[in-house]
């Protein structure tokens, strides 16, 4: 029972990282495609402003995922990090480059250097979610089992690659949707249309990869594939598809701000569909939630800690996002730090 609750918390944390982190990675994705220094100046300006106060917070979801994995399901953690060594290592490097690139670009003044940091930030924004996606795909594909050692086959297969691409597409969608709303918020009307178009492109990418993904069946993946095309899994997939359609529709209208919620729903529902589809397995079809669960006392404490933390952190998160969306948070300018 406890194990199942923790497994759900883990899935929620993954969904939260996919959404929170996804928005950030997506912003980086569009930064990459924004063109040369002159052409891309305005979109990049918006991207920087929109991301600045919240990316660290979004990153913490990833830490949660890791901690929940090794405390709640130690063998699962061991299995995943052994079998999927390379994509995880590359994702880690990508994440470092991305965070550092973003943080360093800001206080740097010279254009040439800003370009380098910016390029590092943008490229790793593309690479990192791709590798995280392949890891999810690797787990879902059923090629991983306790004791599997690292090999290319585990993650460089059709399912993994498609999941990697889906992750990139999802981040592109999230990023563009949020930037559309941000553009309006900051009064940059010219950028509203700019990012709206890109949000639609993101929708199309998600649809394309999703349809290909569901139609290409790999014999290894049959368990998860069955779960996604039947029962509650199918229901969640359909719900995600509906949310996607709603997102595309909302973008066209005056209430584009609400597209943020529906786009988050697309991603969260997709993650949920994956989780539901591979029930009761952590690693289909070799390790169930019950088999992988760690000792029960720490699991119970994990839930208690999470509950206490929610009480402490819930209000703080709400405050942060509120202050941020109301434009109260803004970086120090040069005038603030000179006399």
């Amino acid at each position: 029972m406890t194990a199942v609750v923790v497994a759900w918390i883990l899935l929620i944390a993954i969904a939260a990282y996919a959404c929170g982190g996804g928005v950030d990675y997506g912003a980086g994705f569009w930064d990459l495609l924004a063109g040369g220094a002159e052409r891309g100046r305005r979109p990049r300006w918006l991207i920087d402003h929109a991301m600045a106060p919240v990316w660290e917070v979004n990153n913490v979801w990833l830490i949660f995922v890791l901690v929940l994995m090794w405390t709640g399901f130690p063998v699962f953690f061991q299995t995943v990090f052994t079998a999927l060594w390379l994509p995880l290592a590359l994702a880690a490097v990508g994440m470092v480059l991305r965070g550092a690139g973003f943080a360093l670009r800001k206080p740097t003044k010279r254009l040439a250097q800003r370009r380098i940091y910016g390029a590092v930030f943008a490229i790793s924004s593309l690479v990192t979610p791709f590798f995280f996606g392949t890891v999810v795909g690797g787990v879902a594909s059923g090629r991983v089992a306790p004791g599997t050692t690292a090999s290319a086959d585990v993650w460089a297969n059709t399912t993994s690659i498609l999941t990697g691409l889906l992750a990139v597409a999802a981040t592109a969608l999230l990023g563009a949707v949020f930037l559309t709303a941000d553009a309006r918020r900051f009064g940059a009307d010219d950028l509203v249309g700019y990012f709206r178009l890109r949000a639609w492109i993101g929708c199309a990418m998600v649809v394309a990869v999703g349809v290909i993904g569901l139609s290409v069946t790999d014999p290894h993946t049959s368990y998860v594939h069955h779960g996604l095309t039947h029962g509650p899994g199918l229901f969640l997939v359909i719900a995600a598809a509906v949310a996607l359609a709603v997102t595309a529709g909302l973008l066209a209208g005056p209430a584009a701000g609400y597209a943020r919620y529906s786009s988050v729903a697309v991603v969260a529902l997709s993650v949920a569909a994956w989780g539901v589809a591979q029930r009761p397995y952590l690693v289909p079809t070799s390790l169930t939630v019950q088999q992988g669960a760690g000792a029960s006392a720490p699991l119970q404490w994990m839930i208690i800690v999470a509950a206490v933390a929610l009480v402490l952190i819930g209000p703080a998160v709400v405050l942060l996002y509120r202050l941020d969306t109301h434009g109260v948070l803004e970086p120090l300018t040069d005038e603030d730090v000179t006399e």
């Binding site: 002159e38 305005r42 470092v96 943080a103 010219d190 178009l197 703080a316 942060l320 006399e339």
Partner: protein, 488 residues
């Protein structure tokens, strides 16, 4: 120890060396930022408070500038920390698979604490301009508490590795019956936590003060430098003698709870009484000590206040269960360097206290400021040495007397690990280099601005600064007219 494990211990897998080197390198890098993550918010808030209460623009300026530094430092701390979390899986899956549930809870607390910290720091750093001054300050006040909670989690995990408990071993060698309270509050937890926390505040204080000491030496003796020096230096100077006592205490705890580690850090070969203390010196394979200063009986006296105190020696356990002679020497040197620097810092703190007591003023001597400038670097070195003592002294165990490092290491091929290590090292060198460059640039800009030079002359014409106030209206944003980004 069952036969299989003993066999495992004998064969040193090839991955072990790169895995260790990489862990050591990334930890040592991360830990350089930790004092600032833990203590810079506190030092900044002290300055901020002063600025608010006395309505002192200089203090507020300092607080704002430290915030600007914190923004960059915090980001680098986060990415290097996240790498560590990955490395637990990438390098030591064996440890996590068997023990993750036993000692993971500390990390659970840590993760939530970081979450709170990340939120609060975002509000603090970005709240300077628009929040009401009081609200802004009070929203920052929980920051040091969140940092202390984060340190709690990490140190709980590390002290568990040093003195593991809170479980019984099942038939298959896996832990069962986990008692959470015991697994979190292990015997080494208390001593480690307080020694660590004080080290963080002390280090942050000396480093920040060191920056202004350099300015002072170069002749910038205005109130700005005076204040920037005095506040952090006072914090650090008060903590220095306290840290000496905590260090003495933790050493005695190690003597009691990790006797083999103590033997390594003190180069004790044979168990006995009247054990001499070596300052530096190198342990040889045959148990003799080459070089170093020998103080007869002193080690026994320090460990138990009497020359009759019995100290366990390295030779009391089989060679496979203790650090090698080289590892013992490394731990010993690290320990001695830490204790030496700790003692010298006390002299510096006394000097400062003396002048303050007699004249209510900073010491006039240039040598004082030279030493103060060095104290920052020295305390960072001390922190590194402390961790080397802890970690190398624990060898060959990753979980003291329960799991060897060689049992925990990943099966991934050594070549992959070396490659990854190479990439990570290169990336870190670049990042830390860039980080320092950015800090130095900031300093130069501020100095020129402070000395009255027009800000414009600092920045080359190619500069674009899209980071002005967040524009309410696009008109204030760069390039608004041309709108080059809009669809055409």
């Amino acid at each position: 120890m069952n036969a299989a494990a003993a066999l495992l211990a004998d064969s040193t897998p090839g991955q072990l060396l790169p895995a260790r080197e990489m862990m050591a390198f990334t930890l040592a890098s991360h830990i350089m930022l930790v004092p600032f993550g833990v203590a810079l918010p506190f030092v900044t808030l002290v300055m901020h408070y002063r600025g608010m209460r006395k309505n002192d623009p200089v203090a507020l300026l300092l607080a704002r500038r430290w915030s600007a530094v914190m923004a960059v430092q915090f980001a680098i701390g986060i990415v290097t920390g996240t790498v560590l979390s990955f490395e637990f899986g990438l390098l030591w899956p064996g440890m996590m698979g068997r023990w993750g549930d036993v000692f993971g809870l500390g990390f659970g607390v840590e993760a939530w604490a970081f979450f709170l910290e990340a939120i609060l720091i975002a509000i603090y750093l970005y709240g300077w301009r628009r929040l009401k001054p009081r609200t802004h300050f009070w929203l920052g006040v929980p920051l040091p508490l969140a940092a202390l909670m984060g340190a709690f989690g990490i140190i709980a995990a590390n002290s568990w590795m040093n003195t593991p408990q809170g479980f019984t071993l099942g038939a298959d060698g896996n832990p069962v019956d986990v008692t959470v309270r015991q697994a979190v509050f292990t015997p080494m937890f208390g001593p480690e936590y307080w020694h660590f926390v004080v080290a963080m505040f002390l280090t942050a204080g000396y480093v920040v003060a060191g920056v202004y000491a350099v300015g002072w030496l170069r002749g910038r003796r205005d109130r700005y430098h005076r204040l920037g020096f005095t506040v952090p230096f006072t914090v650090a100077a008060i903590l220095t003698p306290l840290q000496f006592f905590l260090g003495d205490n933790i050493a005695r705890q190690v003597f009691q709870k990790q006797p083999i580690k103590f033997a390594a850090t003190e180069l004790v070969w044979n168990t006995g009484t009247h054990v001499p203390e070596y300052l530096f010196g190198r342990l040889q394979e045959d148990g003799t000590v080459k070089g170093g200063l020998k103080f007869p009986q002193l080690d026994s006296i320090l460990a138990g206040f009497s020359p009759d105190t019995q100290v366990t020696g390295l030779s009391s356990v089989p060679a496979a269960d203790r650090p090698t002679a080289t590892q013992a020497t490394i731990a010993h040197w690290a320990f001695d360097i830490m204790a030496t620097i700790g003692s010298v810092l006390i002299l510096l703190a006394l000097w400062y206290a003396w002048c303050w007591w007699r004249r209510r003023d900073l010491p006039a001597s240039r040598w004082f400021f030279r030493s103060a400038a060095v104290a920052g670097v020295a305390s960072v070195i001390t922190v590194e040495c402390g961790w080397i003592t802890t970690e190398v002294g624990r060898q060959p165990w990753i979980v003291y007397q329960n799991m060897r490092v060689s049992e925990a290491v990943t099966p991934t091929a050594a070549a992959s690990l070396w490659t990854m290590f190479g990439i990570v090292a290169a990336v870190y060198v670049l990042i830390f280099g860039a980080f320092l460059t950015v800090l130095l640039k900031m300093r130069t800009r501020w100095r020129l601005a402070g000395s009255g030079a027009a800000a414009a002359s600092v920045d080359p014409p190619e500069t674009d600064t899209p980071y002005g106030p967040r524009a309410e209206h696009a008109a204030a944003a760069p390039g608004a007219g041309g709108a080059p980004g809009s669809e055409s």
